[in-house]
Symmetry: C2
Subunit: 368 residues, 2 copies
Amino acid sequence: MHADRLAACQQRLADSPADAAVFAPGANLTYLTGFETEASERALFLFVTSDAVEFFVPELVEEQVAASTPIDQIRTWRDDETPHKPLSALCADLGLAGDDTRLLIDETMWARFTHLLRDVFPQATVGLATELMAELRIRKGDTELAALRRAAAAADTAMMRLRDRGDDLVGLTESAVATRIETELADAGGESLSFEPIVAAGPHGARPHHTHGDREIRAGEPVVLDFGCRIDGYPSDQTRTVVFGGEPSARFTQGHEIVRRAQRAAIERVEPGVTAGDVDEAARSVIEQAGYGEQFMHRTGHGVGLAVHEEPEISAGNNRRLEPGMVFSVEPGVYCSGEFGVRIEDLVVVTETGCERLNTTPRGWQCE
Amino acid sequence: MHADRLAACQQRLADSPADAAVFAPGANLTYLTGFETEASERALFLFVTSDAVEFFVPELVEEQVAASTPIDQIRTWRDDETPHKPLSALCADLGLAGDDTRLLIDETMWARFTHLLRDVFPQATVGLATELMAELRIRKGDTELAALRRAAAAADTAMMRLRDRGDDLVGLTESAVATRIETELADAGGESLSFEPIVAAGPHGARPHHTHGDREIRAGEPVVLDFGCRIDGYPSDQTRTVVFGGEPSARFTQGHEIVRRAQRAAIERVEPGVTAGDVDEAARSVIEQAGYGEQFMHRTGHGVGLAVHEEPEISAGNNRRLEPGMVFSVEPGVYCSGEFGVRIEDLVVVTETGCERLNTTPRGWQCE
């Protein structure tokens, strides 16, 4: 599988004006090689040219890289030297030492390493490998879809267990609920979190990227629950906005209904040939017509794969046409500062004729 | 506290040839402002000049940034536009639009954003803010030390609980033990993991950065246990190499004793005025004299603060002199490919007269 992906990357490089793509630890590197590691202060690159693939790694991970990837060209550097000299030698061997070398680099590469590359290739023209890799990764294969389905099911299981507790969660802090979510996700088979869970109660819900804190959950107060976990490396990401006990305000139930309609409209719009912008528009127009346009200040969704946020962006004006195998979130929201927020999110996969929702829990705010 | 740190950063900028430092999500940004967020595809910068401090953030996190930092200058950009125009306007307002502008950028900034800055500042000279920030962060204050002590104590508690289980862990997979470690760390007060725990049994121990996998732990087999958790944002990081049941090989017990002596020698060397290289040498010479020099292929340690790896590096030839308040790991190891590995690691803080160990569990391999 990884050998095929590397070959596809090499083919695209051969068809492009670039001489090489250079990757650092992150989703692209994992996608191409199967090797997963956190970015650190030690230089670790994967060089891909149209006719060569070579790792440049710290000696202390050499055995691991050799054991977990199909790549047999592994150049190492030692902890008691700087990487400059062996990196220059590698570049010369790969034919990348010329004045007109054109490199594409990984968009998540740290500045520390883009500067190292500039030191070693002072004359090279440097662009980003973003498009090259997005084209490879945007349509998910069967193995990827299977992992995404399992991860989505685990998040759904955790969400249902949480809802089943209903009133019991009133009085707990957001952070205590986040800890329960982590436990539920692990029990459901999650290997790690997709991201720090969002448990945003009452006015905190109006901050789309609030995580969780000391606020206690009150009866009748809406709570935004946005979380997911990884299985076989692939993440889930879903959101429900619920009320654990008591009766919410009429303003909230109205807002919730609008978001629910917007989310349904967007999902109904998904099919091959439709643009990402069309899907955004389907959600946005419902919210605008209800008079909440200003309170929906983010895009409708984002692609999901090895990275929780990747292509395609489901945003206003994006002309990217949807194709079978694309996976993304549909997550409109309404955020009323100082009051509450509502967001409802499912992942969907584009099929030949429409789309399949990966998340299937009830979208209502009621826990019973 | 954050206001003081920002003022110190501004003072250093005033004393340097640079016009501004630009930070992205990560340890430097958290250190300066208290705001913590994961790097994502949306542009988020902190600009610091000698007379101004201003955030540039996605509109959807504005409220959060305002609530959690002392900074009142917050420029936003909307999800339905690209950040270029508002970023250009900010730069002009900060007096950074000139041809001779000199910027220092965060070393963990993604290439995506260094390219965005280059688009907006095509004429600027760009360096790294690494040294500037290392000087600010390298001596820990009392609040930082208190958090580091609590995090170290939590890791020690988890390690003792694990050792107490002794024989019971034989037959479990490395990954199952890693899950237990996560639970123990959470029970001991850990808010999140410092990094994915390392549980490296038998020959896996010879890979310094192996995490964990399906291998079952066998009686008499050494297991490298390297883990830590964060408390109040600060991480712990310690390692013990233990045998859960049965008798290990003579070759392992000999290797373990050598590493133990090396680690003790390095810690005894720590005091103000000594260089980081001296500490490395103290450990390395013990291992070299025992004939295992080639099997110790990494530096002796690394600084620990908001980042698990930061300055000072405890590496061969590093002339950096130790000062009170510096915190780093002392973790020599010996790695015998195909057989086993041994690593023993404590965090230490440099005091006025020597050092204080933050980890205090027994360093032996015996669990009883």
